[in-house]
Amino acid sequence: MASWLSSAAAFVSSLFSTSRQLNLNGVMGMNKRNGAYISRYNPRSKYPLVDDKLKTKIIAQQHGATVPILIGVIEHQAEVKRIHKLVQKWQSFVIKPARGSGGKGILVISAHNNGVYEKPSGQVITSKDVERHISNALAGLFSLGGKNDVAVIENLIKFDDVAFSGFSFEGVPDIRVIVFKGYPVMAMMRCSTAVSEGKANLHQGAVGVGLDLATGKAVRAVQFNQPITHHPDTGRLLSELVVPNWQALLELAASAWEMTGLGYMGTDMVLDKDEGPMVLELNARPGLTIQIANGEGLLPRLQNIERLATPIKYPEPAERVAYARQHFAAQPRL
């Protein structure tokens, strides 16, 4: 009885010391994110801009950002069969629900021929399967609140396979940059693995590689919250990862502040082989795993930005990126 009590007490005190240590390291929890950043810096009225990928695409284009080419939009059930004609001239494409999130409802087709569609994994599906996927998306199955939705069909990004070969398995790696009041504060690359089935979703087993804001070089890599050194499928040494075009990519991410007016956001970027950095989507409620991938808490950086005085003329994206690269540099730990 007494030993049971004392081990329970030891457990509780270890919880408290973990909590204290996390706090010291500036690790941000979900409640803090929601209460102190999202609800404070993200005006609700701006949400529709980022919750709808179609709208995001349009405003991003208006602000001169590159985005994956829009092949078409399917809005009504009656148009579902149009998909086959729509993609005729495109060798590979992606179907996504405009209001989806977390990779839900994203269908990547790497090749198709006469109503036979092929996924990046080599799995073949029929035209009926594609139609069903679209009508599910229209009915709101993948979308916030289950509301009716539209299906966005866009060109498949050809990711930079020179810079990234061996870092991602059967999927486009994307780069997540947390942008706070227009300043990039933390970044990571998400590389799909066999376990994650070609999706760059970390909780499904994708590899998260923390990136040094100063250089775009890998800092640390994790899979399932555990540090790793090599890509589990390709065996590639992850410390060799360097994102090219780093300044341009960060500037594009930083400019999302001007596009949306959201104070705290996650920008998902991809590096296209030909067209360079592109905005894939913007997120008003970005996840917290980026801290694990970087081995650092977000709070010190966020507070650094919060402490900055607001000049009459707000700094341009390039100035903000320069500030971030100077102040948020990291020591590689791989």
Binding site: Q21, N34, G35, A139, L141, G261, Q291, T310
Partner: protein, 513 residues
């Protein structure tokens, strides 16, 4: 340039003031319920009601009959909650005078043995007060001056003198008199009791000392007693109330089991047109839950009463569940904000828990797993059919209804009546749960389904345990104020920005110094 939100952060002060206000309102309302309405804090304090029946028997001589009977009212320690009279063929009316109530039966023609019944129900209630109307101070000129024969004069003087010496006020004076009257060795007392009953003797002695008193008829409450007759006792005026004394006993503090039936000081029963009249009483006590006790009191109270108990029974039953929903919400908020457990659908666990309340826990869990499991299998087949979502959900709903019917019929035929309650599950919600879980399965694998399904079930069981806890049921149903406190707690938790319990594990690798 986008404007800069977050610069003019409103002060948190009004928020905390609001929470404080809610807490104060909640506590105040609850204390008022407890103090003024006598609602106890815990459900275990069960309370008693006495059903007392007076049976009036007489022989009618033929011709018109008029019966006037003193009936009791609320008094210190007892609240009258119900009364009724039954008497075939008699007309009944009540006469309420300032100091007493009487029931009056009348009939044009009656002959032979007659029986009339008068039933009352009293709630044992420590908060009940003597009715103000019966506590009117008596007038000095109404005090009769007793006359004593020469044989008694000396005894009266001696008894009074000794009582006066040993007393401080009317109450203690009366007590001393009773002590002497009950003293078998007291010569003076024996002299008085030769000619008078103790009640008569006491009345005369009190009048001699210029103290107001009256004879009242009481009944001693004893569970299951029948054919009891009324006992005369004395009430003495002291200060601003009447105090009851039993002239037969020196122990005056054991009077809480005594109900004053007749304090009219006139007569208990008057029968015109009959003879051989007598009254007898029978009584039973029953322990009731505080809820019905409060209900009875609320019904009896003429005060404006903002209580659920003033609603008809059916609405009350509904509110019983409704008042528990905030507790469910509180637990969901706790689980999500403080623990960080995922549930499928924010408040789905609350609805499942409400269903568990009807089905009981184990049959509920088994039923839930059976329905969702079978539903997932059927949904797996439906997904091959290429249906539109709305049609598919509708098909799942019908499948769920069929599953429920089959389980009900099978379990009924196997003699398991518990199976019947499975119909309480919210079918539409279950269908959506099945649909969501099925997608989750396809997209994220069985593990995530087990995780979220398990989380929801865990939350539902917790909520069920809270909702079926007698203390929680008692508090939420009887104290509206508790809802304000729950609201304050939910608002406070919404303000918590610390780590969730599960995040401590998630961020463990970041906790190294």
């Amino acid at each position: 340039m986008p404007h800069e939100p977050g610069i003019n952060e409103p002060s948190r002060l009004p928020f905390y003031v609001l929470i404080l206000l809610l807490l104060i309102i909640g506590v105040a309302l609850s204390v008022i319920r407890n103090q003024d309405y006598g609602v106890p804090w815990t459900p275990s304090e069960s309370r008693q009601v006495w059903d007392i029946e007076a049976r009036i028997e007489f022989t009618a001589v033929g011709g018109p009959v008029k019966v006037s009977f003193a009936v009791p009212n609320s008094q210190a320690g007892f609240t009258l909650v119900d009364n009724s009279a039954s008497s075939a063929g008699y007309g009944l009316s009540y006469l309420n005078s300032r100091s007493s109530r009487r029931a009056q039966w009348s009939i044009r023609d009656a002959r032979g043995a007659q029986t009339l019944y008068y039933k009352t129900q009293f709630l044992v209630d420590q908060y009940a007060q003597q009715k103000l109307s019966t506590a009117i101070p008596p007038l000095l000129q109404n005090l009769p001056t007793p006359t004593f024969g020469p044989a008694h004069k000396g005894a009266v003087a001696a008894l009074s003198e000794q009582a006066l010496k040993r007393s401080a006020d009317n109450v203690t004076f009366t007590r001393e008199l009773i002590k002497q009257l009950n003293d078998l060795d007291n010569q003076n007392a024996a002299l008085m009791l030769n000619d008078f009953s103790k009640v008569e003797a006491l009345t005369k002695l009190l009048a001699y000392a210029k103290i107001h008193s009256k004879t009242v008829g009481v009944i001693e409450l004893e569970d299951g007693r029948r054919r009891q007759s009324i006992i005369p006792m004395i009430e003495v005026w002291e200060g601003d109330a009447w105090h009851l004394f039993n002239p037969e006993s020196n122990e005056q503090n054991a009077l809480n089991n005594v109900l004053v039936w007749d304090d009219s000081n006139v007569s208990l029963l008057d029968v015109i047109g009959g003879k051989n009249s007598k009254v007898s009483y029978s009584m039973i006590a029953q322990d009731i839950t505080p809820i019905s006790a409060t209900k009875k009191k609320a019904a009896a109270d003429s005060l404006l009463n903002f209580s659920i108990h003033s609603l008809p029974l059916e609405e009350q039953a509904m509110f019983k569940t409704i008042m528990l929903i905030p507790i469910g919400a509180l637990i969901v908020v706790f689980i999500r904000i403080l623990i960080g457990l995922k549930t499928s659908g924010t408040f789905m666990p609350v609805l499942i828990a409400v269903a568990f309340v009807q089905t009981q826990l184990l049959p509920g869990i088994i039923g839930f797993l059976l329905i969702v499991g079978t539903g997932l299998v059927i949904r797996g087949y439906l997904s091959k059919l290429n249906l539109l979502l709305v049609a598919r959900i509708s098909a799942v709903i019908i499948a769920v209804i069929l599953i429920i019917s089959v389980f009900t019929i099978v379990s009924f035929n196997m003699g398991l009546t518990q199976g019947l309650t499975i119909t309480f599950f919210p079918m539409i919600i279950l269908s959506w749960t099945i649909e969501r879980m099925s997608i989750l399965w396809e997209e994220e694998g069985a593990k995530e389904v087990l995780l979220q399904g398990g989380g929801s079930l865990f939350a539902a069981v917790l909520i069920y345990l809270a909702m079926t806890n007698p203390s929680i049921q008692h508090i939420t149903f009887n104290f509206i104020g508790s809802q304000f406190i729950v609201l304050a707690a939910i608002l406070l938790m919404g303000n918590y920005t610390g780590y969730r319990l599960l995040e401590l594990k998630r961020f463990k690798s970041l906790a190294e110094g």
